[in-house]
């Protein structure tokens, strides 16, 4: 009797998990259940669809070493451009190499920048409020942390996320996110 109860309970568990997995393929369900699925047990099987990832994401920053210049608005930043450094890429996230079918740890690092950038972009697209609150998200903190790691006071830094497509000279680029200026500690 106990054996049958155990079997039925496990079968029921698999059936529920399977049904939830099917439902999770729909955005409306995955958006609602996603935040509760901390262990990622509900899969989203999209395999590069409907819109495949075909862009590289680059984290870049620029710096202002003068502490008394107003950089609070885009207009002020434009006016202070002579005091700002050129844009530089945060390149030292994890250099390395890949061996096809065997070795490619860097994919986790590049995917992290892609995931974080996409989250910020999605938030901004959803609503004007989303754009305002993007600055208070964990994703924003992570990019800020990566940008400010080697900054020294009184420098202020602003980061941006660029999307590029293609290889070499044919590459096209577009900025998708721009942060505020932040003071180094």
């Amino acid at each position: 009797m106990l054996e049958i109860i155990v079997i039925r309970a496990i079968e029921f568990g698999f059936a529920i998990w399977f049904a939830l997995s099917i439902a999770y393929q729909f955005s409306a369900v995955s958006e609602k259940l996603g935040p509760f699925d901390r262990f990622a047990l509900l899969p989203r099987w999209t395999f590069f669809a409907p819109n495949p990832g075909m862009q590289d994401h680059h984290l870049v920053y620029r710096e202002c070493l003068s502490g008394d210049i107003d950089l609070s608005t885009l207009q002020a930043q434009e006016a202070a451009s002579a005091n700002l450094s050129s844009w530089r890429e945060v390149t030292d996230l994890c250099p390395g190499f890949a061996i096809p079918l065997l070795w490619n740890p860097q994919r986790r690092v590049t995917k992290t920048i892609t995931d974080v950038s996409n989250s910020l972009l999605t938030m901004r697209r959803r609503s004007p409020e989303g754009a305002k609150y993007a600055h208070f998200t964990v994703e924003y903190f992570l990019l800020l942390h990566l940008t400010m790691r080697d900054a020294r006071a009184p420098a202020r830094r602003q980061f941006a996320v660029l999307r590029t497509h293609g290889f070499g000279a044919e590459r096209s680029a577009r900025a998708i996110f721009l942060s505020k200026f932040h003071l180094a500690e």
Partner: protein
């Protein structure tokens, strides 16, 4: 062509564990580069922000930089123990259970940078653990194999349907575009597809066709159904080689024995074949 449920689950577990072995070495390499440290790309100080203060404090010993080293080294050891003990499944639930625990821990720690193969790994590990604990109950082992076979079937159907909604996939330009960037692209293959756009189109339509018609695999008789398995192996090998998503091959193709088992069960259900029924039950 048929396979016993227990063997199908064992093969799926071993393939997933082989993937964990490789990933653990990669993770240890990333750890050595400081990726999990306070100055790295995945510092616990930021990752813990998604949890409450109290949960963050509880998790800190295992999720901090030092804790992650222990977790990843332990995973390497558990995976090696399972692979080395291939064929002897008596004590498998112990390392398997520890792999499940650390897998869930890593999923909770790493909010970004994951991929589809990680999800299949979690599914096979949890299902495999249930099957191993209840190995004396054939009905549970059968359900586990069917569940994994069902998941891979959903993965193809959902992915194929999603591609039908993508303008780039429908126009046959998706693959050449994917191949033309650094993260998941390939310089040589990208240039090849740019030179021969018809090949790119054919591949896009081939992938969509393979995925959206995947249920045909269940009704086609052997050996014709093997076309789907060969197509799947090529698909995952292509992803692993050209996109450098190495885990996709071993993890997904490793579930194919469960897929074959699921197909046989579906065919018994559909065609009420007593011959198949006898073969399945040994």
């Amino acid at each position: 062509m048929t396979i016993a449920a227990a063997l199908a689950v064992h093969i799926a577990i071993l393939c997933v564990v082989a993937g964990i072995f490789l990933t653990s070495i990669e993770s240890l390499w990333l750890w050595s580069k400081g990726c999990y440290d306070t100055g790295g790309i995945w510092p616990w100080a930021i990752a813990r922000e998604v949890y409450s203060e109290r949960i963050g404090d509880v998790l800190s010993p295992v999720m901090s930089n030092g804790g992650m080293l222990v977790v990843m080294a332990a995973r390497l050891g558990f995976a090696a123990a399972l692979l080395a003990g291939y064929g002897n499944w008596t004590y498998a639930p112990i390392p398997l259970g520890l792999l499940v625990a650390t897998q869930l821990l890593l999923q909770a720690r790493m909010h970004w940078g994951g991929e589809g193969a990680d999800q299949m790994t979690s599914i096979v590990l949890v299902t495999g653990l249930v099957a191993e604990i209840c190995r004396g109950l054939p009905a549970v082992v059968d359900s586990a194999a069917l569940f994994v076979g069902g998941q891979i079937t959903i993965s193809y159907l959902a992915s194929g349907t999603a591609k039908l909604f993508g303008p780039l996939w429908r126009s046959g330009r998706a693959l050449p575009m994917i191949m033309n960037h650094h993260t998941y692209g390939h310089v040589w293959f990208g240039a090849f597809l740019a030179r021969y756009p018809l090949v790119g189109k054919a591949l896009c339509y081939g992938i969509i066709g393979f995925q959206v018609t995947f249920l045909v695999f269940y009704v086609l008789p052997m050996p014709y159904a093997l076309v789907y398995l060969a197509g799947g192996i090529l698909f995952h090998a292509g992803i692993a080689y050209f996109m450098r998503l190495n885990l996709f091959l071993v993890t997904f193709v490793g579930t194919y024995p469960c897929l074959i088992y699921t197909r046989e069960c579906v065919r018994v259900f559909l065609f009420h074949s007593p011959h198949l029924l006898r073969m399945l039950h040994g």
